[in-house]
């Protein structure tokens, strides 16, 4: 495993607002990393810095390149969807695909056609005639047909219905992802990505508040459905979060012996959503 992205002291301010506070993180190749944070946490700023779209402080290396200074070289191997609905509205689907095929050396036209064949997108349509969901499908089909080393997706499924979202993540995992590729994704719909992620990066108020692989999360964190009679005992282990359920209190623990937890109730793997809420609340407390 090699470091695909290395950020050291990555910072960024907008006027007097600090969007990123000297952030440090690494992303290895062959991973699917979820960059997760509430609105305004600095996710998009971090992604734009990685893609060379914005100036930043500190050190940042993506595929061994400085994204701001060497943006053109970087774009040979990096592909991104920075925002929803950024495809030019005037263009026809066929023109768009012709253009990408002619200008992107790593675009595989047949792969794009394969993805599009499953959608309702017609080659003769203009982008502005397509529904929001179809535009997203088109953009994803183009991006997945590019043989890139790093794919960055910022809220890729915004505006898609649940069936399309599920189909998209299945396709991404089963037909696109392999050990040669790395995917960095931000999303609000944590539940839908958690089964495909290999790494988690939680960001809040411009700071990284959790940086762990899914394996580490499963090792360190545990979710317990605590029976009412053990409530007091459970609280002595300092749960990160607590939530009422049907006849049980759901608690999240970190670094507590599994044997101790099993005495309190049913132990399980915490969901990323629960972990997110607990970690963010903990970081803000």
């Amino acid at each position: 495993m090699t470091d695909l992205i290395v950020a050291r002291g990555l910072g960024k301010s907008f006027g007097s607002t600090r969007a990123l506070h000297e952030v440090n993180f690494r992303v290895n190749s062959g991973r699917i990393v979820g960059l997760i944070g509430p609105n305004g946490a600095g996710k998009t700023t971090a992604l734009k810095a990685l893609l060379g779209l914005t100036r930043f402080e500190g050190e940042l290396s993506v595929l061994g390149l400085d994204p701001y200074r060497q943006r053109y070289q970087l774009m040979q191997d990096v592909c991104f969807i920075a925002d929803v609905a950024v495809l030019p509205r005037w263009i026809r689907v066929r023109q768009l695909i012709d253009f990408v095929a002619a200008t992107h050396p790593k675009f595989r036209r047949e792969v794009c056609g394969h993805f599009l064949a499953r959608s309702d997108v017609k080659a003769t349509s203009r982008v502005k005639e397509l529904s929001k969901g179809m535009v997203t499908q088109l953009h994803l089909a183009i991006v997945m047909a590019i043989d890139a080393k790093l794919l960055v997706l910022d809220e890729p499924t915004l505006g898609l219905d649940i069936l399309m979202r599920k189909q998209f993540y299945d396709t991404l995992l089963n037909e696109y992802f392999d050990e040669q590729r790395t995917i960095l994704v931000t999303t609000h719909q944590v539940e839908e990505v958690e089964h495909i992620l290999t790494d988690l990066l939680f960001i809040d108020r411009g700071r990284i508040v959790l940086d762990a692989t899914m394996d580490e999360v499963q090792e360190k964190y545990a979710h317990v459905a605590v029976r009412p009679e053990h409530l007091a005992a459970a609280r002595t282990h300092k749960p990160l979060g607590e939530r009422q359920g049907l006849g049980r209190t759901h608690m999240l623990f970190r670094g507590v012996e599994r044997a101790d937890l099993e005495r309190l109730g049913e132990v399980g793997v915490p969901s990323v959503a629960d972990l997110f809420v607990a970690v963010i609340q903990g970081a803000r407390a």
């Binding site: 893609l51 592909c79 925002d83 950024v86 030019p88 509205r89 253009f99 200008t103």
Partner: protein
């Protein structure tokens, strides 16, 4: 190179005015022809064609050539307006609809993008203009020869090689000269387009107007105004004779046409190409274009 041609192709897909505007001009010419409104001689006079028939053939050819040159000029002005608005929107349109984030995800350098857009304004649009001018010339030649035939005269003068090829030569020469002369204007508009937070037209037009007004009010001089007027309209001075012929009231068409002989286009062009004004303008265009590339490259699209 292939990639560059695709970038130009993309611009032509997007900016339909590049081929619609000349088509409209041509359609107008065809309309003039089929309604019999191609006039040779005083307009509104039924003796126009017969008066034309009285003057020597050599002068006739000269008159036809002037008509063709005027035609090329009209087409060039229309395409100039197209190029003006194209340049103003060239580096702003994709920022307005946010598709810049898509274009920037492609492995294309910003220098390439800016150059391709400059090439559209400075090469593609002029090539279309020349083609349209030549076609318009043929349409008018057909209309003119029909009109002459109806007056019982030979229409062959409309197709005289001196007039036809002379007209084409003037269209080509004029286009090339206009490109060189207006290159800094195009580059300036593109820089404004790359830089403008919104409303690139105002961002392009207001600064020179503000400087002009300020100079007038504060210094009571007109250097900036003269400089701008010269860059925008100075080229047309090359075309004008000292005393323009009075075609409307021409009693003696031959004498009025003779006045046109003091239009020395080759001489004026030679003078222009020898002047530092033209070449300094090209240097300025290079600097402005480099600035536009820099702004395009480093402009932060996140805010």
């Amino acid at each position: 190179m292939r990639r560059f041609l695709w970038l130009i192709r993309r611009e032509i897909w997007e900016n339909k005015a590049i081929w619609i505007a000349p088509l409209i001009v041509l359609a107008c010419m065809v309309l003039l022809t089929v309604t019999g409104n191609v006039h040779l001689g005083p307009i509104g006079s039924s003796e126009g064609e017969s008066a034309f028939g009285q003057i020597p053939r050599e002068t006739q050819i000269k008159l036809v050539l002037i008509a063709y040159a005027g035609l090329a000029l009209v087409v060039d002005m229309v395409m100039g307006i197209v190029a003006f608005f194209y340049s103003i929107d060239s580096l702003y349109g994709d920022r307005r609809d946010r598709s810049v984030l898509f274009w920037k995800s492609m492995p294309l350098s910003d220098a390439e993008t800016v150059l391709s857009k400059f090439a559209v304004a400075a090469i593609a649009i002029p090539v279309v203009a020349i083609a349209a001018a030549v076609l318009a010339q043929f349409v008018i030649a057909a209309g003119g020869s029909a009109k002459l035939a109806m007056a019982g005269l030979s229409g062959s003068v409309m197709w005289a090689p001196e007039a036809v090829f002379g007209g084409i030569l003037i269209a080509v020469l004029w286009c090339i000269t206009a490109i060189l002369w207006y290159a800094p204007v195009i580059a300036y508009l593109m820089l404004a387009s790359a830089w403008a937070p919104r409303g690139p037209f105002l961002w392009a037009v207001l600064p020179p107007v503000a400087v002009w007004v300020l100079e007038r009010v504060v210094l009571h001089s007109e250097y900036v105004g003269d400089f701008i007027a010269n860059r925008l309209f100075g080229l047309y001075r090359l075309l004008g004779p000292r005393s323009p012929p009075d075609m409307e009231n021409a009693k003696n068409l031959g004498a009025e046409v003779a006045k046109l002989s003091d239009v020395d286009l080759p001489g004026s062009l030679r003078e222009l190409y020898g002047s530092p004004e033209l070449w300094l303008g090209i240097v300025a265009a290079g600097v402005l274009l480099a600035a536009a590339m820099w702004v395009r490259r480093y402009r932060d699209e996140t805010s």
